[in-house]
């Protein structure tokens, strides 16, 4: 990726990871993040997309990225 796109992508990654940790009980298990369809982060991302009625892609698309930047309640969306 060109540098700035890569940086944006990494920022998006950190944003979504923080979001899933805060509100979906995601626990980073130490593995470097790789987009695999069955890994924990992708599962949590799908859970979040399903909660908000977004298309459940498991990918960090623009709709998902837009939503994680909105102000919200600090309480988790899933029982922690």
């Amino acid at each position: 990726f060109p540098a700035n796109t890569r940086q944006t992508k990494e920022e998006g990654m950190q944003l979504i990871q923080k979001y899933l940790e805060n509100y979906y009980g995601f626990k980073k298990d130490g593995e470097s993040f790789v987009w695999k369809s069955n890994n924990a982060m992708t599962q949590k991302l799908k859970e979040m997309q399903e909660f908000f009625g977004l298309e459940v892609t498991g990918k960090l698309d623009s709709g998902t990225l837009d939503l994680v930047q909105k102000r919200r309640c600090g309480f988790p969306d899933v029982a922690g």
Binding site: N22, Y23, F51, F52, G53, L67, Q69, K70, R71, R72, C73, G74, F75, P76, D77, A79
Partner: protein, 380 residues
């Protein structure tokens, strides 16, 4: 809607709340008003009632803080997480924390405190987040629109799943002071707060509010808030009879004394203190005194005044002694003639209710300064 795992909820219907500290973004009176209004959103559709405390512990402790604030969920600076609240329970249970790094407002700009507080109190009462994007319990903040009712049917269904519906309303959470109570439909028409014929049985201050007693009902009015809450006396004190005669608050003891006939009760919040009711003569009255018309406590003087017909007795808390014999009301309160229905003190004036009239009496000038209607305190 969704509840928390295990469906924690309050086992009582009268809950206390305390605003522990205030955001500098708003006047304290505006914070008080926003919090009251946010609690009323939920009390208007359930049997729940909320009483404010200004010291000690309360079921719902409300505070403003930035970043780390002694729980395990630090805030994240401006934006992002705005506030959070805990499910019903002891200690942290029910508490609501607001992120001081937000700009709290009472308008559509910034972050509207009333709207966020109403959401957080949903958590304090046992609701978790809803997937319905139109519901109050949806997790994402939407631009506040004052013309839109906050509670969505999804929220009402959720909270009534936990607590049942309100005995007073038909799920309508408008801020009317008149809430029709179907269980009272057999009774004569409910008192109309704006009627020019309105009279009161008793009036007292109560933890920063003013409580107006009439038959089976009370209106609760915070001087800084335009509207009033209309409740059944029994929703606060089930054992108290309707149609009380008099009431007064000793705020320094957080006690309110309520009279009916030859008996009186002392309450603290929604609790009747043990050992009550007691008989009037235990206060020092002769046994032929069969009822008190009105009473108020002057905290500065340390004296309590009891009014019967056109006379009054005063009790000195310091010397713990009651007047040997009563004095004429008009001698000590010029301009107040004859029997009164109720009286209370607000700031440095007394408000005497007699029939459809209300007299404002200035304690410094020792004279009546205004003649008011009885519904002066209400948005009529």
């Amino acid at each position: 809607f969704s509840t928390f795992a295990g469906e924690p909820k309050w086992t009582k219907h009268v809950l206390t709340y305390r605003i522990v500290n205030y955001t500098p973004d708003l006047r304290p009176a505006d914070v008080n008003a926003a919090i009251r209004k946010a609690l009323r959103v939920w009390s208007s559709v359930t049997p729940l009632r909320f009483i404010q405390k200004d010291r000690g512990d309360a079921d719902i402790m409300i505070s403003f803080a930035a970043r780390d604030h002694n729980d395990f969920i630090p805030f994240d600076g401006p934006g992002g997480s705005l506030a959070h609240a805990y499910a019903p329970g002891k200690d942290f249970g029910g508490d609501a924390h607001f992120d001081e790094d937000e700009t709290w407002t009472k308008s559509t700009e910034g972050t509207n405190l009333f709207y966020v507080a109403a959401h957080e109190f949903g958590h304090s009462l046992g609701l978790s987040h809803s997937k319905d994007p139109n519901s109050l319990m949806y997790p994402v903040y939407r631009k506040y629109d004052p013309s839109v009712l906050l509670l969505h049917q999804d929220d009402i269904t959720g909270i009534q799943y936990l607590y049942g519906s309100s005995p007073n309303t038909n799920n309508d959470q408008t801020e009317s002071t008149e809430i029709k109570d179907p269980t009272e439909s057999k009774d004569p028409a409910l008192p109309n707060i704006c009627s020019s014929n309105l009279t009161f049985d008793a009036v007292t201050t109560f933890r920063g509010e003013i409580m107006f007693f009439k038959d089976k009902h009370i209106w609760r009015k915070h001087p800084a808030v335009r509207t009033a809450d209309f409740e059944l006396i029994s929703s606060f004190w089930p054992r108290l009879p309707p149609g009380v005669d008099a009431a007064y608050e000793i705020s320094e003891k957080d006690e309110t004394v309520i009279f009916k006939g030859k008996e009186f009760w002392v309450v603290r919040g929604d609790t009747i203190l043990p050992g009550y009711p007691q008989k009037l003569y235990t206060l020092g009255f002769s046994k032929d005194v069969s009822k008190i018309d009105a009473a108020f406590h002057n905290g500065i003087e340390g004296k309590t005044y009891y009014f019967i017909a056109d006379k009054f007795w005063s009790y000195d808390e310091r010397s713990q002694s009651m007047d040997k014999k009563p004095l004429l009301i008009r001698d000590a309160f010029p301009g107040i003639n004859g029997k009164i229905d109720a009286v209370f003190q607000h700031e440095n004036s007394l408000y005497f209710f007699s029939g459809r009239k209300q007299f404002e009496f200035d304690l410094n000038k020792k004279r009546v300064t205004r003649l008011l209607k009885t519904n002066f305190w209400f948005p009529c």
